[in-house]
């Protein structure tokens, strides 16, 4: 009792303030816990966080122009592209010197490639000129203005010089603008010409198709999960194998199997022709389009929907339904007002899993999607492994990441992420 009236801090047995003792003990505990997960943390940092950060960095990094054409960038700093006049001779001389150096170490093609992303046509101007400028004598051959324009008309175009100036800073929004079908024009960002627009269409298509796939997974998965949860354990286990077996089979095998089933001379069309439902000349086109992607991906992602639904349904007590019916509810009312609301957390978990997986898929759409059924991830893969435009690939990836995070946030606001249960 006397302790309460005491004004000093509460002391532990060893005479130190209890608060500090407690904090110390907790800190030790936390440190020990941290040490236990340290290997995992390190692993995630090295194999996940750092590469993602590096990728995000690539989407804005733009040192190549000033590294390859340092003199030109410096001279162009004083030039105003809005004047509509070509820059002075000094800029041409600087460019000739830069281009000669670059061509000798073969970096002029890289800068050509970079500028070509923003202004198609520049690549060929740089490449063609590089071959000739390599042999020029920079000290004595001037003036270079006429010489360069003679070499290639492109150098007489104000637009080319503007592009060099616009993209000479170390960081650029160019890749991100490109990823939403825009570019930095003379008066700030502008929409690209119609025949170069592609990414918005692809992003919207990816979202739309992923939603369709998620809904078809709910429609097909719900009854299956319900049957699994309500059958006696032995039969349910047997059925469970049928869900898990495809889940364990390689993605490529399943996709190829769908190819064989869906193609025009495939099993499904052959059967339909044989029973006379479809005319031989008008076989159904089920593959190499949106439909093919939706069918194959729904099948591949179905287990990710069924499993969380099943584990949630298993926990629902059947007596609730009996109680509802004994109070006079019809089968439908009992299902809709008593059973269904309790399965929503399972649907939520399944939908998030399926949707996020679907948005990032690229192998299946590449194999069965033709041109109309491919996703934005296919374009990311194209830019990373074929076209070599890593900056654009990274920007598209970053946008995709942002969209997924935003949708997750919206979902949390509407459904509440606490309502999501995996079991």
């Amino acid at each position: 009792m006397s302790d309460i009236t005491q004004s000093g801090p509460v002391l532990a047995a060893d005479g130190r303030p209890l608060k500090r003792s407690l904090a110390r003990a907790l800190r030790m505990q936390k440190l020990r816990a941290l040490l236990l997960i340290a290997p995992l943390l390190l692993f995630i940092l090295v194999t996940f966080i750092l590469p993602v950060a590096d990728m995000l960095f690539r989407s804005v990094e733009n040192r190549i122009v000033q590294d390859t054409l340092p003199r030109t960038v410096e001279v162009l700093a004083d030039w105003d592209p809005a004047s509509g006049q070509l820059p002075e001779e000094a800029a041409f001389a600087a460019l000739a010197a830069d281009l000669k150096d670059a061509a000798n170490v073969k970096t002029h093609t890289k800068v050509a490639k970079r500028l070509n992303y923003e202004n198609p046509g520049l690549s060929s101007v740089f490449r063609k000129s590089g071959r000739k400028v390599k042999n020029w004598d920079i000290a004595n051959d001037g003036p270079f203005r006429e010489k360069l324009i003679d070499l290639n008309d492109g150098w007489g175009d104000v637009e080319l010089w503007r592009t060099i100036k616009t993209y000479s800073s170390s960081f650029t929004s160019g890749y991100f603008l490109n990823a939403v079908d825009m570019r930095l024009g003379a008066d700030g960002p502008e929409i690209r010409p119609e025949n170069e627009r592609i990414y918005n269409t692809m992003l919207i298509r990816t979202m739309r198709m992923s939603l369709i796939i998620t809904f078809s997974c709910i429609l097909l998965g719900y009854p299956v999960a319900w049957i699994l949860a309500n059958l006696p354990a032995r039969k349910a286990n047997l059925l469970m194998i049928l869900v898990l077996l495809p889940f364990w089979t390689s993605l490529l095998v399943r996709t190829s199997a769908w190819k064989i089933l869906l193609q025009q001379q495939g099993v499904i069309n052959d059967t339909l022709v044989w029973i006379g439902l479809v005319d031989d000349a008008n076989r159904l086109v089920l593959i190499n389009n949106e439909l093919g992607t939706i069918i194959a991906m729904t099948h591949i992602l179905l287990p990710f929907m069924i499993l969380p639904m099943y584990s949630v349904m298993q926990t629902i007590n059947p007596t609730y339904l009996r109680a509802a019916k004994s109070l006079g509810a019809t089968d439908w009312t009992a299902f809709w007002r008593v059973y269904f609301p309790q399965t929503v957390p399972g649907i939520g978990a399944g939908s998030i899993l399926v949707f996020i997986l679907a948005v990032g898929y690229y192998i299946t759409p590449a194999l069965v999607g033709g041109t109309k059924g491919t996703f934005i991830s296919n374009l990311i893969a194209y830019h990373i492994s074929t076209s070599g435009n890593w900056g654009l690939g990274a920007a598209l990836g970053a946008i995709l990441l942002a969209v997924v995070l935003a949708l997750y946030w919206v979902y949390d606001k509407i459904v509440g992420i606490d309502n999501v249960k995996l079991g």
Partner: protein
């Protein structure tokens, strides 16, 4: 002063030391090729004989040639080049050379001369399209068609004639060749194709022509796809490499015919990635000299219907190693096949590829 001179001397010796051992050759060789029948022909024609002569050497195959440029670029940037010798098409070899990612070759010093003493640069002749390129074969991208489903097409323009030849077609998912064929069939003279294609209207015109069959096209990315689609009856005609079609027709006996009209000549050959350590480079150059001599290139033609890139190899081309059929009539260069050929302009494509790829991708996605 004295000390710094001494240390400078020490550094120079240390720097020179590795080159003193340059004669030593690595015992592992990573070769990159295209897989399938083509890689098998390389294995039989030159890798096996080379290994027989050099028993200590181990050869590792990688089948990533389709992504050669992107991967070499990535390896170069990471400073860790794991490939020793890469099989690449001519235009890729030019891009790699332009970007400084491939080693320049001195064809006369690094390669074997012909049996009659003709230096290699003369023997390969015009096929050396880039300083970094050692040509191996001449192949062509051409069309195969189902002999039982459609009438025999006479010209390449059959792909645009969906009334006379109904059914799907397969085309490669890239602008090269497709745009040229489209313009040719839209009435542009063969020698004006690249002039027309050089203008925006020309590109629009080619894409519009392709657009007329867009919903009938299955786009392929791997050479094996068209023979498979033809065998399945999924498409009635499609473009692919002539060796793959030969394999489907002669070796697998499929109901497929060859359409040689406007076949697109292309070259394939070796490229040495830049920046290899001395011992690995020594091994690569030793192998390269062996693998591209007159006899080896002629041997390869016994396994696949691609023409050897050396003039001196051509007379040595004989029969198929297993089927025993005469190979000459199946070569793209045979006079009976080479009546109307399309020699595609590597240099034009090296300059304009980035632009047209972007336009083509946008057009495809629409």
């Amino acid at each position: 002063m004295k000390i710094s001179k001494l240390s400078a001397l020490a550094v120079t010796t240390a720097l020179c030391a590795p080159s003193a051992f340059a004669e030593e050759m690595a015992n592992e060789l990573t070769l990159v090729s295209w897989g399938g029948a083509y890689q098998a022909s390389q294995q039989k024609a030159y890798v096996e004989p080379y290994l027989a002569q050099n028993p200590g050497v181990k050869v590792i195959w990688d089948e990533s040639s389709a992504e050669a440029v992107a991967k070499i670029r990535a390896m170069n940037e990471a400073g860790n080049v794991t490939w020793d010798l890469v099989d690449a098409v001519a235009s890729d070899s030019m891009r790699l050379c332009d970007e400084g990612l491939a080693e320049e070759i001195n064809h006369d010093e690094d390669l074997a001369a012909a049996p009659d003493g003709t230096p290699a640069s003369e023997d390969f002749g015009d096929l050396i399209v880039s300083d970094c390129f050692v040509p191996q074969i001449v192949y062509s991208t051409t069309f195969g068609y189902r002999t039982d489903l459609i009438d025999k097409p006479e010209t390449v323009c059959a792909i645009f004639d969906t009334e006379k030849y109904p059914g799907k077609r397969s085309l490669q998912k890239r602008p090269i060749d497709n745009l040229e064929w489209a313009l040719y069939c839209d009435g542009v003279a063969k020698d004006e194709i690249y002039d027309v294609l050089g203008t925006d209207e020309g590109v629009e015109r080619a894409l519009a022509k392709l657009g007329s069959i867009k919903d009938q096209v299955v786009w392929w990315t791997a050479g094996a796809e068209t023979p498979q689609l033809l065998a399945d009856g999924e498409v009635v005609m499609g473009s692919t490499y002539n060796g793959r079609l030969f394999s489907a027709i002669a070796e697998q006996d499929q109901p497929i015919g060859m359409l040689w009209d406007m076949q697109s000549f292309d070259l394939d050959g070796w490229v040495v990635p830049a920046g290899l350590p001395a011992d690995r480079k020594a091994r690569v150059m030793d192998f390269l000299k062996f693998a591209t001599d007159t006899q080896r290139l002629a041997d390869q033609a016994a396994y696949i219907s691609y023409g050897p890139a050396r003039a001196s190899s051509a007379p040595l081309v004989g029969k198929h190693a297993e089927l025993g059929i005469d190979m000459a009539p199946h070569m793209p260069t045979d006079p009976a096949n080479a009546g109307n050929v399309h020699v595609y302009d590597y240099e034009w494509w090296a300059d304009n590829r980035d632009d047209l790829n972007a336009k083509f991708q946008a057009w495809l996605a629409k």
